[in-house]
Structures are given as structure tokens and as C-alpha cells.
């Protein structure tokens, strides 16, 4: 069976990963000289406490190529085919690291590394699809092809209380158009071409959540949705409640923004990712 590997920018938690049978390679979060592996060594609860505690602002880094080389070599003992579904190379070096790790593997095993140009739930949706296909017996080429074809059908939207974290982490890109507002605004950003882009602004959280809802509603057909929160599970449930009228329950998944995405998004982000039907 094809083994599926992804990175922690997909926000797939360790428990979820075990359930799915995928390997999630954690990125690192640095608080000063302390380095933590995303989710594994720093669960979201602790991370968000640290983040808002007012101490040193964290930074993040991709794992070394050697981490991937080791992982691939170990997996090669169990399988002849590995698919690595990686986050956008415009946001992180993790894809590059996986590509280089792959080059070091000498074991007799085919490895495909995909730059999905996505993150968070959108990346996770690709992982879910790949896992299902692998379980159904699809081979590496078939799954790779399926994932690549699904990539352009993904959509993602995130609401923020502030863009300060994104700005600090250098990932604000074109969303800087939303900086400097003299009124209190709730920025809403989308992912496009592997980067964050400005989408809309709301005056309050309720309005912003409406925009999230309408974003999914405006799609002709929704195949799969992932809703994720950072510190507001009730908001996630509220959104899922509203979505259940249009998307069957088994196609809606819950997730939580982990510490690496959280470093750049801040403690109140709420995100929706979905796969639009063909």
C-alpha cells in the first residue's frame, strides 16, 4: 500500500494522523532558544497560552532534509511507494527539505513529493483523499494524479482579529493592503497561488463569520469541508451547524490550527477549507 506523508502545516493532529495512518512531519516552533516540534512537543493548548503570554515572539522553521531522508528510508522497509503531500513552497521550506531528503534515499522505493501550494485544511483534504485512495488499492501514480487534479478545486478562507502575527512572521504578502486601517476591522484572507491574499474585511466577528459561511454557500457543489479553529471551538461548532444544511455531516471535518500556523495567524483565527465539486 502507498504510504502517505505530509507536514504539520496541514494541521493534522497526531491523533488524527494515527487514525488515518499517515505520517505528519512536524515543523519547528522556536521561542527564543527553545525549539518545539509542532503538535508533538507543543500541543495547541500550551502553545496559545505561550503565544499570548507576552513573552518572546515565536518563529518557525522547516525540518532538515535529513529528517525526511530518515523517515523515507524507514518507511521504505514497509512499502515500495511513498507519496509526500507538502505545503506551499511560497510559505515554507518544508517542501524543499522533503525534495532534498528524497534525493538521499538509497532504498528501493518510489517517492513522489508534491508541492500542493496549499496549507491548513486545504492541504489536509488532499491527504484525506490520498489516504482513502491508498486504502482502496490505488497505486502511487494514480494517487499522485488524483491529488494534482484536486489541487485547483480547493478553496480556503480565514478570518483574523488582527494581521499583526502574519506581518511579524513575514508571510503577509499581498494582504498588507489590509494593514493600517483606522477603523477596527476583521480581515478575511484567502489562499491563492500558494500565498495569502486579501479577500474582504468585516467590522465585527459576526460579519466575518457570515463571510465564511457565504464563501462555502457560493460554491455550486462542495465535496468535503474542513473547519478549524485556534482557541474558539464553539465558533467552529456554530459554523459546522450552519454548514450541515448544505454539506452531509460525514464530509465535514473538524481540525485545529496548530502552533506553526498559529505563530503566523494569531490566537483567534477561524478557517474553512473545502473541495469544490466538478
Amino acid at each position: 500500500m502507498v504510504k502517505i506523508v505530509t507536514d504539520s502545516l496541514s494541521d493534522i493532529s497526531p491523533e488524527w494522523a494515527r487514525e488515518l495512518g499517515v505520517t505528519v512531519v512536524p515543523l519547528n516552533v522556536h521561542f527564543g532558544n527553545d525549539v518545539y516540534r509542532d503538535a508533538v512537543e507543543l500541543p495547541p493548548e500550551e502553545f496559545y497560552k505561550k503565544l499570548v503570554s507576552g513573552g518572546v515572539h515565536p518563529t518557525t522553521s522547516a525540518p532538515a532534509p535529513g529528517v525526511f531522508a530518515e523517515l523515507f528510508t524507514n518507511l521504505a522497509k514497509e512499502t515500495k511507494e511513498i507519496l509526500a503531500i507538502m505545503a506551499s513552497d511560497k510559505i515554507s521550506a518544508v517542501h524543499e527539505s522533503a525534495v532534498q531528503g528524497k534525493a538521499l534515499v538509497t532504498a528501493d522505493c518510489r517517492i513522489e513529493v508534491i508541492n500542493t501550494r496549499w496549507l491548513i485544511g486545504a492541504e489536509a483534504i488532499l491527504v484525506l483523499m490520498a489516504v482513502e485512495a491508498a486504502k482502496a488499492g490505488a497505486n502511487l501514480d494514480q494517487i499522485t494524479d488524483m491529488v494534482k487534479k484536486a489541487m485547483p478545486r480547493l478553496r480556503a478562507l480565514m478570518i483574523f482579529d488582527t494581521l499583526e502575527y502574519l506581518k511579524k512572521g513575514g508571510r503577509i504578502g499581498k494582504a498588507q493592503a489590509f494593514l493600517g486601517s483606522l477603523l477596527k476591522i476583521h480581515p478575511i484572507l484567502t489562499l491563492k497561488d500558494g500565498e495569502v491574499h486579501p479577500y474582504e474585511r468585516a467590522r465585527n466577528r459576526a460579519q466575518a463569520k457570515n463571510v465564511l459561511m457565504n464563501f462555502v454557500k457560493s460554491a455550486a457543489k462542495v465535496e468535503r469541508v474542513i473547519v478549524e479553529h485556534a482557541t474558539t471551538p464553539d465558533e467552529m461548532e456554530e459554523l459546522i451547524g450552519n454548514l450541515s444544511a448544505m454539506v452531509p455531516k460525514e464530509r465535514i471535518h473538524r481540525s485545529r490550527v496548530g502552533s506553526v500556523i498559529g505563530t503566523h495567524a494569531g490566537p483567534h483565527v477561524l478557517a474553512v477549507s473545502f473541495l469544490e465539486g466538478e
Binding site: 522556536h30 522553521s61 532538515a64 521550506a93 532534498q100 508571510r171 479577500y199 474585511r201
Partner: protein, 545 residues
């Protein structure tokens, strides 16, 4: 100067330890110039951490040959690489180890050959090698080392010196190769870090460890005038060529005519419009740097856009196929009051036409501003019912595509601007902005111009009146705060979540504070904001969202 013909594995290790300590001293400086590929300001940190892991691995190995030390370093870098620069550095050490495989000592030739191997490995390993980065610096330095090794095959220091000197030159050239560096006015951070690492190594070889303790690496800066030489090279060229440069200059006592005269010789298609506080500049120039330098001497720059026009043309063809990108759309706003104008600007209005109640701008005034913004699609927010019609006449006079969202009050205009969707087309945006207008209520407090009886209110000339959505007079009286509160009361604040109070030029700050306190106790849990709108005619404009 002492001449060293070769060094052992232990010496090579010490050489890189010295280089790494030298790099550690400039971590913050290297972080500060990190703009590519992700401007997250951690290149120095990542390179230093990668080096630490690289050297820790050597400590663990007891072997002394150059080959073994290089292999241990490669392994350490591989497992400890952090970030993009760390990943490239790990490739560098991998190549170096390959080049030094089986060697007991490094001599001048071995070093040069290993550098060349390291450069090849670094390039090969990357899925998208980019010039103008650490890669280019390693390649240039390796070539210089190889050239020197041919004539000075027994002088390791001379070859290292050639490596470091060329690295320095190469770092200074990186902005020529990578436009994001040029725009940010920096050299490549990874290249800078690698140069410092090598410089530290060289200084160890030269026996300068003592001096290094009390000094700090000097950062390389771009010393080449970047695009300044282009005009001479391309005289008499017919095609427009160069950089389309656009920005908003904000300052005090600006003189648009003077700015225009000053910039006239510096490019083509010059447009300078604005007033003493805000000037929009558009110019096609070979040297946007010079334009920006001049402008920053006058004030602060906003909404800066610099585009290579050759790319723009190619991009244009692409764009036609897809739906209209939001980048090509501008919102022009009619507003009065400095504070109000600032709010609109801060929310991304491309340009502001001064005007409002009792000072309606002409079609010509709006047209001028519409033509000056660097977008072919323009949405106009008139923000006054008497200006809606004027604004809708602009379409006949311009080749640009215009949509007028009929906003009748300033809060309606702000609500519309906030609803601007960066992914939408002109039509989609006009539609969604119009529906956003319906979600906001406006209460305006002004003075009655004559005595009248309306809505069961007996109004005396000069009394304060509260108008809702520019139509209904809902309250009147002598005391402004009372009229305001009564008007809000009548509108019904129930489902409102955000109350924004724009204080007019004639209103008093203490009075506003009183109103806010009153509102807070009357409507707990509502988000209340006050903005110094500075508008004339209206003491207060209140938006309910």
C-alpha cells in the same frame, strides 16, 4: 603573511568553528536583510543554528582526516538544517564532503575542487535554483578559487582569500540578479551569511583569531548603481520600456507643480496630481529608485507599485483570459473632512475627491481623479445623494470601465469600501458593495437651515437635528448630545454591533466623550469607536452596523 600549503581535518574543523562564531556575531544583521524567499527575518538565525548542528556532529566523531571531518559536518548539517538557507547550506556541506572524499589534508587545489563540487551539489539539489542568492555567491567564489589554485597551487590562504573576495563581490551583485532584493534595497541574506562564514574561516587560517574576538563582521552592501546606467544603453528605443512606478506621497506643504517639474526629466508618461497634503505620482522610468528617493525626501510613500512594463505586457495578455484581477481595480471616493479622508485612505481608497454636502464636485473634478488612478476599472463612491448623478456621468467621458455605487452618506461609503472583494470583478464588487450599504444605518447631526414642522417635530432655525439615512429627520433640539441620543433611540440600536461616531470639525471632544459614556451605559456590549472625522456641516456622523 604566513603561507599555509595545507591543513588537517582538525584544522578544517577549527576553521569552520571560527567561521561559525564570526557568523554568530552578525546573526541580527543578516536577519534584518532577509527578504527572499520568505521575508521572515530569520536567515541569520537559521544559518547559525545549522552551523551549530554541523559542528556538533564533528565533536562526536574522533576521526581526524579531512575526509572524515567533512563527512561528519555534512551529516550534522543534513540533520540540523533550518529554513531555506540552512537547507542550501546542508547541500553545500554535502558537496564539500563529496569533493574531499578520501583526502587526509586540504591543499589549495583540493579546496578549490571541493568548492566547485559543493556549488554543483547545491544547484542540483534545489527544485528551483534562483540566481542572486547564496547559490550564486557559492558558485562565483568556487570559480574564483579554482582560477587562483591553478597559479598558486601551494598557497591555501591565497585560494581562500580569492574565495572570500569573490564572495564579497558576488554578494554585492545579488540585487542585480534578484528584483526583490533590488526593490528592498538589500543584498541577499543567505549570500551575506555564507560570505561571513568563509571570511571567519579565512581569518582563522591567517591566525587572526585574537583580533576577531574584539571585532564584528562588516556587512556587504550593494555598491553598484542598479538601473542607473540603462538610459544610455537604450537610447532612441521606441517601445516604452522600464518600470511603471506609482505611489501616493503624503506630506505637508507639498507642491504638485514643483514635483512635476522635478520629475519631468526622469521618465515618460508622467502624471502628478493632488494637493498640498497628498500627491499621486505615476511615471515610466528606468530608475524607480531615484524617483522614490526624491519622493521620500518630501514625505511618506504609500501604495507603492513598481512594475516592469515588459512583464506587464505579457501579464496583460494572460489576464485577458482569466477574470479581471482585483489589482486592476481602484475605488475613488468623494469625501470631506481630513479625518474622514484618512479613514477612506486607510481602507484602501485609491484616491479621494474633495467634496460633500454643500460642496459638490464637478464631473470634471471626478473625471480627473478617475483618470489619474493607475487602474482601468474604477468604482466611485459618491457618498452624497447630490453627487450620485454627477458621478454616473463620468463613464461617458472616460475609456475606463466605471461603476458607481450610489452611497448617500459617508458611513455607507465606508461600509461599501469594506465590502470590496479583492477576488471579485467590477460587476461583482459593485453588487456586493451596494448590498453592504443596506446593512448600515447612518445618523447625521446638523443644524436646521430654516424653521419647519416635520414628523411632528417643530424645528427652529439653527437647532440641532438628527437625520437618519439622509432622509428622515427623527430628532430636533438645542442640545446636540440629546438630539443624537434621541435619534439613535428612534432608529433602534437593537441588532447593531458596532457604533462608530465620526466627530465633526465643530464638535467638541469633551462632548463626544460624554456621548460615548452615555452610549456605553445605555447599550452595554456594543463595540463603540470614535474617529475624529473633521467633517464640516455635520457635528456628528454616526454609523450603526
Amino acid at each position: 603573511m604566513n603561507q599555509i600549503s595545507s591543513c588537517s581535518g582538525q584544522e578544517m574543523k577549527k576553521m569552520f568553528v571560527a567561521g561559525s562564531s564570526w557568523l554568530e556575531k552578525s546573526v541580527a544583521d543578516v536577519n534584518a536583510i532577509n527578504v527572499f524567499p520568505v521575508p521572515d527575518g530569520d536567515t541569520g538565525t537559521n544559518m547559525h543554528l545549522t552551523m551549530r548542528s554541523t559542528l556538533e556532529e564533528v565533536d562526536r566523531s574522533a576521526n581526524l582526516s579531512v575526509s572524515d571531518v567533512a563527512k561528519a559536518m555534512a551529516q550534522g548539517a543534513l540533520m540540523g538544517a533550518r529554513g531555506n538557507s540552512g537547507v542550501i547550506l546542508s547541500q553545500f556541506f554535502r558537496g564539500l564532503a563529496k569533493g574531499l572524499d578520501g583526502k587526509e589534508f586540504i591543499g589549495a587545489r583540493e579546496w578549490a575542487a571541493a568548492l566547485v563540487e559543493a556549488s554543483h551539489t547545491a544547484y542540483k539539489g534545489l527544485s528551483q535554483p534562483t540566481e542572486g542568492t547564496i547559490l550564486t555567491v557559492i558558485k562565483d567564489a568556487a570559480n574564483a578559487a579554482q582560477a587562483t589554485a591553478q597559479t598558486k597551487s601551494d598557497d591555501l590562504i591565497a585560494v581562500m582569500e580569492a574565495t572570500v573576495n569573490e564572495a564579497r563581490e558576488s554578494v554585492a551583485r545579488t540585487p542585480l540578479l534578484l528584483s526583490v532584493l533590488r526593490e528592498a534595497g538589500v543584498v541577499d541574506a543567505g549570500g551575506q551569511g555564507w560570505y561571513i562564514l568563509m571570511e571567519g574561516a579565512l581569518r582563522y587560517l591567517k591566525g587572526e583569531v585574537g583580533e576577531m574576538e574584539y571585532s564584528k563582521p562588516r556587512m556587504v552592501t550593494a555598491n553598484i548603481p542598479m538601473v542607473a546606467n540603462l538610459p544610455q544603453m537604450s537610447t532612441e528605443k521606441e517601445e516604452p520600456y522600464g518600470y511603471c512606478t506609482n505611489f501616493l506621497l503624503v506630506g505637508q506643504k507639498l507642491n504638485p507643480d514643483k514635483i512635476k517639474t522635478k520629475l519631468e526629466g526622469k521618465g515618460q508618461s508622467l502624471v502628478v496630481v493632488g494637493d498640498s497634503n497628498t500627491v499621486r505620482v505615476h511615471i515610466h522610468s528606468y530608475d524607480p529608485g531615484a524617483i522614490l528617493r526624491y519622493a521620500t525626501s518630501l514625505g511618506t510613500l504609500h501604495h507603492i507599485q513598481i512594475q516592469n512594463m515588459d512583464d506587464q505586457h505579457e501579464g496583460f495578455v494572460e489576464m485577458q483570459k482569466e477574470r479581471l484581477p482585483a489589482m486592476d481595480m481602484a475605488v475613488v471616493v468623494v469625501a470631506s473632512g481630513e479625518g474622514m479622508k484618512e479613514v477612506f485612505k486607510s481602507l484602501g481608497a485609491a484616491a479621494i475627491v474633495s467634496g460633500g454636502q454643500t460642496m459638490n464636485p464637478s464631473v470634471r473634478e471626478i473625471l480627473q481623479i478617475v483618470d489619474s488612478v493607475p487602474s482601468d476599472n474604477v468604482i466611485i463612491l459618491p457618498n452624497n445623494k447630490n453627487i450620485v448623478l454627477t458621478a454616473s456621468q463620468v463613464q461617458e467621458l472616460t475609456s475606463k470601465k466605471i461603476a458607481v455605487v450610489p452611497t448617500k452618506t459617508l458611513p455607507q461609503g465606508i461600509a461599501a469600501l469594506l465590502a470590496f472583494n479583492y477576488e471579485g470583478t467590477l460587476e461583482e464588487n459593485a453588487k456586493s458593495m451596494e448590498s453592504a450599504v443596506a446593512a448600515v444605518k447612518t445618523v447625521e447631526i446638523t443644524r436646521a437651515v430654516r424653521s419647519t414642522k416635520i414628523n411632528n417635530l417643530a424645528i427652529k432655525e439653527g437647532q440641532a437635528i438628527g437625520i437618519v439615512d439622509d432622509k428622515d429627520i427623527m430628532a430636533a433640539g438645542d442640545v446636540v448630545p440629546e438630539v443624537l441620543l434621541e435619534a439613535l433611540n428612534k432608529v433602534g440600536i437593537g441588532s447593531t454591533e458596532v457604533i462608530t461616531i465620526y466627530r465633526g470639525a465643530d464638535a467638541d471632544e469633551a462632548e463626544t466623550d460624554k456621548i460615548v459614556k452615555e452610549l456605553q451605559s445605555k447599550y452595554p456590549g456594543k463595540q463603540i469607536e470614535t474617529v475624529n472625522g473633521g467633517q464640516s456641516h455635520y457635528n456628528y456622523i454616526v454609523s450603526l452596523e
